[in-house]
C-alpha cells in the first residue's frame, strides 16, 4: 500500500512561511547574542516577540505558532541561567518563559491574517455585517497597550539593574579605598610606635611611652578593620595571617626593649635592639604592607574599570530606553492624533451638516455606525414629535418603526454597496400616526472603510401622496365620466342619424305628393276644359315652387347635418383638380353663361376629400350664382399668404355684398339677398364653414357691393 498525502495538506503546509519562521527565530537569536555584552542576562525575550509578530503578519497563524515554539526553546537554551543548557536556575525564569509562551501564542492567533486583529481583512468582514466592529479595535488596543507596558517594564528593569551594577561597582571602589586607607593606617601606626619606642629608649622620658601606647592601640584598631575589610579576598586574608604574626612579633619586641630600658637602662636596651634583628622584622612588615597595598591598588584599578563599564552600560540602556520611549510616545501620539483627528473629522462633517440645516423643515438625522441616533434637528422634532433629547441614543428604525414597500434588507444592501439610498418609507410618529416620507440616506465610512455614521434626510410627503391619490381617483372618475359621456354622445348621434334618415324619407314623401297632385290638377283641369283658369294655374305653380324649395331646404339641411356627423378620412387632396371638376360641371349646367375659371394648378391640402369637395362646390356655386348679372364672369381659385399660413381663396367679379353684414354670412338660413334676386336656402356657406372648422381651419370673406367677393379659408396644420 502506498503512502498517501492529500494535495491540500501539502498546500496548506507550504514550506516558505515555515522557513520564514525558522529564519526569523534564528535572526532573533543572533540579534540577542550580539547585544549580549550590553544586556547581559537581561530581557531575553524582546527580539523573539518581534520575530513572532513579524511571522504572524507575513506567514499566518501556523508559522507564527512554530516561531513561538522555537523562540521559547531558544530563550530557554541560550539566554536563561544557566545559559547554553535546558536547566532552570530560578523559578521566576520559568514563570517568565511560560508568560512569554502564552503572550506569543496569543499574538500568533490574533495578529495572523484572518485573525481578529489583522487590519483590513477583519474590517472588510465586519463591514459586511451590520455590527459595529467594536470587538476588534478593543482587543487590538488592549494588545497594543499590553505590548507597550511589557516594553516599559523591561526597560525599567534594565535601567534599575544598570543602576544596581553601577552602584555595586562604585561600592567596591570605595571599599578598596577603605582597605588602602586601613593599610596605610596600620603602617603609620607601626612607624609611630617604633619612633616613640626609640624616643623612650634614648631619653627614658615617659612621654614617649604614652605616644607608644596610643600608637599600639590605633595600630590594633586599624589592623582589625583591615582584616574585616579584606574578608572577601582570600589572598589578602592569607597575607593578613602572616602580617598579624609579624606585627605581633614586632610589637612584642618593642615592648620587651621598652621593658629592658626601664629596668636595665639605655645600654642594655641598645644591646637588645642591636641583637634582636628588629630592623629586618620592620623591613619585612613594610614589604608586606606594600604587598597588601599593591594588591588593593590592582583591585582598585580593575574595579574602577568595571565601574566605568557599568556606568557606560547604564548610559547605553538609558539612551536606548529613552529612545524607545520617545519612539513609543511618538507612535502613540501619532495614533492618538490620527484617532482624534478621524473622530473630529467625522463629528465635524456630520455636526456641521446637521447645524447648517437645522432650520430645514426636512427631518435631518445623524446616526453612528450602529444607526444609533446622534443628531436630530428641529425639523425631525416637528415631523416625528420626539425632542432631540428623547431621540438621541435610540436606534433609528426601532424608534420610527420604519417600514417600506421594498424589503429593508434590500435598502441596507444598496446603502452598504453604493453609500447612498433614496426612496419612500413609512414612519410612525410619537403620537402613533403613520406618515409617508421621502428618504435620502448617506453612509459615511471611516478611513478603514467601516460604517462610521449615517445621515438621513426625510421629507414628509403624506399630503402629497394623499393629493396624488385624490388626483388618481379624480382621473379615474373623469375617465369614467368621459366614457359615459361618449356613450351618451354616440347614442345621441345614432338618434340624430335616425332622425335625419326619417327627415330625408318621411318629410320628402308628402312634399312629393303635394307637388304630384298639383301637377295632376294642372294637367287634368287646365287646357281644353278650362275648369281652372290662368290665375288658378299660377297659384298651383306657386304651390309647386314652394314645395320644391322646401325639398331643397330639406336636402341642404341633411347635407349640413351629414357634414357634422361624417367621419373624417384625411389624406392628401388635390384641390386644384377638385375645383377643375366642379368648374366643368358648372359649365355644363350653365351652358348659356360665359364663365371664365382661373385655377392655379397643383394646390394640395391634407383633409377629407369628400367634405372638401362639398365645400368647394358650395363656394363655386355661389360664385357662379352671384356673377349671374355679369356678361363675363371670372372666378379664381388661388392661395395667399396669411399670418404665416397658406390661405386658399375663391374670388369672383360678381355683385359682392356690404361688409357690414359679413358677420351673419356663415350662419345657417342667413341670406344677404332676397330670394327674388338670387335663389338659395342660406345653408351653403354654413356648410362650407362647418367643413373648414372640422379641418381645424378658419374662413372669412372680403367684399364690396358690386365689386365682387373673395372667400378665404385655411385648413389647419399641414401634415
Amino acid at each position: 500500500m502506498g503512502f498517501y498525502i492529500p494535495a491540500g495538506f501539502l498546500k496548506r503546509f507550504a514550506t516558505a512561511p515555515y522557513a520564514l519562521a525558522a529564519l526569523a527565530v534564528a535572526a532573533a537569536i543572533g540579534l540577542r547574542l550580539a547585544f549580549d555584552p550590553v544586556l547581559g542576562n537581561y530581557s531575553p525575550y524582546l527580539p523573539f516577540v518581534a520575530a513572532v509578530l513579524l511571522v504572524a503578519r507575513l506567514g499566518g497563524r501556523g508559522p507564527a505558532l512554530l516561531s513561538t515554539a522555537l523562540s521559547s526553546l531558544s530563550v530557554w537554551y541560550f539566554f536563561l541561567e544557566p545559559r547554553y543548557s535546558f536547566a532552570i536556575a530560578q523559578p521566576t525564569a520559568a514563570v517568565g518563559l511560560g508568560l512569554f509562551s502564552v503572550i506569543a501564542t496569543a499574538l500568533s492567533v490574533l495578529e495572523a491574517p484572518g485573525g481578529l486583529l489583522s487590519g483590513r481583512d477583519a474590517a472588510d468582514r465586519l463591514k459586511r455585517s451590520y455590527l459595529d466592529p467594536v470587538g476588534a479595535p478593543l482587543l487590538r488596543r488592549i494588545a497594543t497597550l499590553a505590548g507597550a507596558a511589557l516594553a516599559l517594564g523591561i526597560l525599567a528593569s534594565l535601567v534599575w539593574s544598570g543602576f544596581q551594577r553601577s552602584m555595586d561597582a562604585k561600592r567596591l571602589v570605595g571599599h578598596t579605598y577603605q582597605v588602602l586607607n586601613a593599610a596605610g593606617s596600620v603602617r603609620s601606626s607601626l612607624e609611630t610606635a617604633e619612633t616613640s619606642q626609640r624616643g623612650y629608649l634614648l631619653t627614658g622620658n615617659d612621654q614617649y611611652l604614652d605616644a607608644y601606647e596610643s600608637a599600639v592601640v590605633s595600630e590594633r584598631r586599624a589592623r582589625t578593620s583591615l582584616r574585616h575589610l579584606t574578608v572577601d579576598n582570600h589572598v589578602q586574608q592569607a597575607r593578613m595571617d602572616e602580617f598579624d604574626r609579624l606585627v605581633e612579633t614586632r610589637l612584642a619586641l618593642l615592648a620587651s626593649t621598652i621593658e629592658v630600658r626601664r629596668r636595665q637602662g639605655a645600654a642594655a636596651a641598645a644591646d637588645l635592639v642591636r641583637s634582636s634583628g628588629g630592623k629586618e622584622l620592620m623591613d619585612q612588615l613594610r614589604a608586606m604592607v606594600d604587598a597588601v597595598d599593591e594588591e588593593e591598588r590592582r583591585l582598585l584599578e580593575s574595579r574602577t574599570v568595571a565601574a566605568g563599564a557599568a556606568d557606560s552600560r547604564t548610559r547605553w540602556i538609558l539612551g536606548l530606553g529613552t529612545g524607545s520611549l520617545v519612539l513609543l510616545l511618538i507612535l502613540a501620539g501619532g495614533s492618538m492624533e490620527r484617532h482624534i483627528h478621524e473622530r473630529e473629522r467625522t463629528e465635524n462633517v456630520l455636526g456641521r451638516q446637521a447645524r447648517l440645516i437645522d432650520l430645514s423643515h426636512d427631518a435631518i438625522v445623524t446616526a453612528d455606525g450602529n444607526r444609533v441616533i446622534t443628531g436630530w434637528n428641529s425639523g425631525a422634532q416637528e415631523m416625528y414629535g420626539w425632542t432631540e433629547k428623547e431621540a438621541a441614543g435610540q436606534v433609528m428604525h426601532e424608534l420610527l418603526r420604519t417600514s417600506s414597500a421594498i424589503p429593508l434588507t434590500e435598502m441596507k444592501r444598496i446603502l452598504a454597496q453604493e453609500g447612498r439610498w433614496y426612496g419612500e418609507l413609512v414612519h410612525t410618529r410619537s403620537d402613533g400616526r403613520e406618515i409617508v416620507v421621502e428618504s435620502r440616506q448617506v453612509l459615511q465610512r471611516d478611513t478603514a472603510g467601516r460604517p462610521a455614521g449615517y445621515l438621513e434626510i426625510n421629507r414628509d410627503i403624506t399630503d402629497r401622496k394623499r393629493a396624488e391619490e385624490e388626483i388618481r381617483q379624480l382621473n379615474t372618475e373623469l375617465e369614467q365620466r368621459v366614457r359615459q359621456r361618449t356613450a351618451e354622445l354616440e347614442t345621441a348621434n345614432r338618434e340624430l342619424e335616425a332622425f335625419a334618415y326619417s327627415v330625408s324619407h318621411d318629410l320628402r314623401a308628402p312634399l312629393r305628393g303635394i307637388d304630384g297632385w298639383s301637377l295632376a290638377l294642372m294637367e287634368d283641369y287646365c287646357g281644353e276644359c278650362e275648369r281652372l283658369d290662368g290665375k288658378g294655374r299660377k297659384y298651383l305653380e306657386r304651390v309647386r315652387s314652394e314645395t320644391q324649395r322646401m325639398g331643397h331646404l330639406i336636402d341642404d339641411l341633411l347635407q349640413l347635418s351629414r357634414i357634422t356627423r361624417a367621419e373624417m378620412h384625411r389624406d392628401s387632396v388635390d384641390l386644384s383638380a377638385a375645383v377643375e371638376s366642379v368648374a366643368a360641371r358648372l359649365r355644363d349646367t350653365h351652358p348659356r353663361r360665359c364663365l371664365e375659371f382661373a385655377i392655379r394648378p397643383g394646390l394640395t391640402a391634407f383633409g377629407d376629400a369628400r367634405l372638401l369637395e362639398i365645400a368647394l362646390t358650395n363656394l363655386l356655386d355661389n360664385a357662379v350664382k352671384f356673377t349671374g348679372p355679369r356678361a363675363h364672369a371670372r372666378i379664381e381659385f388661388d392661395t395667399v399668404a396669411c399670418e404665416g399660413k397658406t390661405a386658399f381663396v375663391v374670388r369672383d367679379n360678381g355683385v359682392g355684398f356690404d361688409m357690414a353684414y359679413a358677420s351673419t354670412l356663415f350662419g345657417a338660413f342667413q341670406r344677404l339677398h332676397s330670394d327674388s334676386e338670387f335663389s338659395g336656402t342660406g345653408i351653403g356657406l354654413a356648410t362650407v364653414q362647418r367643413v373648414v372648422q372640422r379641418h381645424g381651419g378658419r374662413i372669412w370673406a372680403e367684399a364690396a357691393p358690386d365689386r365682387g367677393a373673395a372667400f378665404y379659408f385655411t385648413l389647419g396644420p399641414e401634415r
Binding site: A500, Y501, S504, H505, D506, R508, A509, P510, L511, R512, G513, D515, G516, W517, S518, L519, A520, R544, T547, Q548, M550, G551, D555, L558
Partner: protein, 150 residues
C-alpha cells in the same frame, strides 16, 4: 315585349302609389301593376304564400319597384330574402326611394339591386324617371330565364 308581365310596386304611401301608377299610365305603360303595401305582402306575392297562395311563382314580375322604408319587413330585408331564395334571385329589382343616404345606396347595391332611383320632389322629373324606367325594363331589357325546378 313583356306586356303580359306584371310590375310589382312595393310602396306603403298611397299618394306615391297613385302618382306612380299615374306616371306609368302617362308613360303609356300598360302592364298590370301589383301593389304590395308592406314587405310581408311583397314576399307573399313573390313566393305564392298567404293571400297569394297558389300563384305560379315561376311567373316573375317584369320589374319590382322597391321602396326602402316599409312596414313589417323593411325594403333592404325584402331584397336580401328575394336574393337568397333560388326562385326569386334573378328578379329585377329597382330601388325607388326618398333616401339619398350613402349607407342605403351601398347596402342596396351590395344586396344585388339592379338599379337605385331617388324620388325627386318635383313630380315632373319623377314622371320622366318612371317613364324611362318602364321603357328600359319592359322594352329594352331582356328578361332573366325562368328558374327550372326538378
Amino acid at each position: 315585349m313583356n306586356s303580359y308581365k306584371v310590375i310589382l310596386l312595393i310602396e306603403d304611401n298611397s299618394s306615391d302609389v297613385d302618382l306612380t301608377k299615374r306616371a306609368l299610365v302617362k308613360g303609356r305603360i300598360a302592364n298590370q301593376v301589383v301593389v304590395a303595401r308592406d314587405g310581408k305582402e311583397a314576399l307573399d306575392f313573390l313566393w305564392g304564400e298567404g293571400a297569394y297562395a297558389g300563384r305560379d311563382v315561376s311567373d316573375l314580375p317584369a320589374v319590382t319597384l322597391l321602396d326602402l322604408k316599409l312596414p313589417k319587413v323593411p325594403g333592404l330585408e325584402v331584397l336580401r330574402r328575394v336574393r337568397a331564395d333560388a326562385r326569386t334571385r334573378r328578379l329585377p329589382v329597382v330601388i325607388l326611394t326618398s333616401s339619398k343616404e350613402e349607407e342605403d345606396l351601398a347596402a342596396g347595391y351590395d344586396l344585388g339591386a339592379n338599379s337605385y332611383i331617388r324620388k325627386p320632389v318635383d313630380f315632373k322629373r319623377f314622371s320622366e324617371a318612371i317613364e324611362q324606367l318602364g321603357l328600359y325594363w319592359l322594352v329594352w331589357n331582356e328578361q332573366p330565364p325562368k328558374v327550372k325546378y326538378p
